[in-house]
Symmetry: C3
């Protein structure tokens, strides 16, 4: 939730938060329940484990309540939105609201299906702590082209953190705007990279001081990991596992040295 | 669909088509909706992205229509044939027929389940652009042992392209027959390699001049990628991602130099 | 099933059985039907193929009977326990009992969901050949902390082989107890490693002389493969595929040289 009158956060301060993120995750080992599409499940779980979080992934209607009750945060990814997953999301969001567990919405492919678009709008109205999406999804949901200003406006309208990822990532809480210039084009050539980044941002919500800096930190870490992975990869195949190694091995100094965060 | 009186296509001409396939995919970036089993989803999506196609994978009854309507081709893989997937296939095939979007059938494991066999027969009668299967599946569907002559006969009977993969791949449209001697035994030690090859052949249908040469081209590219991957792998683990790197990096010259295609 | 009066098996004899396991699997190529969660499906299938087994993974109610009838062993993993999977397990266990096909229970996350815990108890009463679980799951099912003595008692009560995995693995049939000190901490940083180990133990039931030594052998092989993979990995990303290479390449001498098995 956006704080009413947020303190301005300098790019340097954001880099500091990013540098501390993995250490905090490794210490706290938050339980994150990830409702995500079947394509994304293996890489999502492996990114979470490499970062120090404990993922669970069931979408069974009968047991999702028990998993969410013992979770520290919930990821709601709309990929493969079958009826079972739909019901699972309803139960999860209700539980999360009741127990004040933060949840993040990843409105995968809302640009390809009216049904998902309508449902994503419904979910947005139920106050996720954050939304992570790409340019086409942003356009479908907000009705206009992506830009830092548009992200800020949309975040203000929705009353949540909006994180647009692409060549440049933009994060806003409706007041503050940060842009992140980390990452590598290979991230777009591996399936479910965006989904895995959303999962990392969800885990960050648990250990962060506020959701805005937490989401920025997660995207910085993910982008820096992508750069390191690209530097040792021969293509998207090697990249897909190298980014997991990179997250696992990454130190606060690595992050501080490579983070490229700017205001607005 | 087999052309009534196809021009004979020389092995050299087929190699040329294969050499151009990846360039065409990278330029066109076709959207391919892949209804495939959950085991195969990650590697299928990654092979598609590496080749330049844009995969989508939902099997939700409620939204598959929307995805197929905006797709350029559809893969119908019978693995994990649960009731939801069954309904998804029905909707997808109906939409594909109406909008003339080509679809490819991969009748996974029809040799292990009567139910799948019956359904595969039903689907064959509804004129997929092509079928890709292995020896055991061919035997179950056609009723006899695999051979170039048997593939040709079966393709003629079904009125579709039949692509039998194995140590040697055989493709026929009922008139022409091509055999492909690319690939590596490690391809049989990684799960869902056949499924991923079917997905590549589905994407090829979009950019090819005709389905016969398109399917041959896809199997040549996949086999050459398998050979390159094997040359840098320590086993099936490294192979599984190296083939994705190989597809991503492959040039027309690489393909032309290594393709082993023959008549009949 | 625990033999009434089992011969004592020396650690050296257990190492011999472990050393022979992969050769036996490669020769026999058992068909193993794996009902497992969607996260675990790709790595489970790839571990099975690398070891020489033939995995199938459908959970469709309509066709699971056909798959189990032609399988040599069945894995029942409770991850993602949705209604369809629940029905699939019922059919599979009934078929397995009727045809005397051995099945192994992996009660994933029973510590997180009462529903799974109750169902795991029901399944245990239906005499799986073996159960493979971690410390938290053991505590939930047995009601007490894990220890070699507790595993032995629990195995005796359940009348089945119990295999507890962790830093040290403990296997018992209620009479004999073996401890295995192979493996690497990276195995805990990759999703579904326990599930894949359960699958290997399920395949071992087919080619082993008795279920106790078969399960011990599988855990030794898996642990030694984990050590070899760790020695060539930069983190959990590279580890996830290196363990598959290691299983594929492993010889009887490798296993004999590195196995660390003890009595009780």
């Amino acid at each position: 939730m956006a704080v009413q009158q947020p303190d301005p956060v300098s790019p340097d301060a954001l880099v500091d938060v990013a540098a501390q993120l993995l250490q905090r995750l490794r210490t706290r080992a938050p339980k994150v329940h990830c409702i995500t599409n079947t394509v994304a499940q293996p890489i999502t779980a492996n990114v979470m484990l490499a970062a120090g979080a404990i993922p669970s992934l069931t979408t069974s209607e009968a047991e999702i309540g028990a998993f969410v009750r013992s979770a520290d945060a919930v990821l709601v990814n709309l990929g493969t939105l079958d009826p079972e997953r739909h019901k699972a999301i309803e139960i999860a969001v209700r539980h999360a609201a009741k127990t004040k567990v933060p949840w993040l919405l990843d409105p995968v492919f809302v640009d390809r299906s009216e049904l998902r678009l309508d449902y994503a709008r419904e979910l947005l109205a139920r106050k996720p702590a954050a939304v992570r999406l790409n340019g086409a999804e942003f356009r479908a949901l907000s009705g206009g082209p992506p830009s830092p200003q548009a992200v800020k406006l949309f975040a203000g309208t929705c009353g949540t953190i909006v994180a647009l990822t692409g060549q440049v990532d933009v994060v806003s809480d409706g007041e503050r705007v940060a842009t992140i210039r980390n990452g590598d084009p290979l991230m777009g050539k591996v399936t479910a990279m965006g989904c895995a980044g959303s999962a990392l941002a969800t885990a960050a919500l648990v250990v962060g001081d506020d959701p805005f800096t937490a989401v920025v930190a997660a995207l910085v870490v993910f982008g820096v990991a992508g750069e390191r992975a690209a530097s040792v990869s021969n293509g998207p195949g090697t990249f897909a596992f190298s980014i997991i190694d990179a997250i696992y091995a990454m130190t606060a100094d690595d992050i501080a040295a490579r983070a490229r965060v700017a205001d607005g």
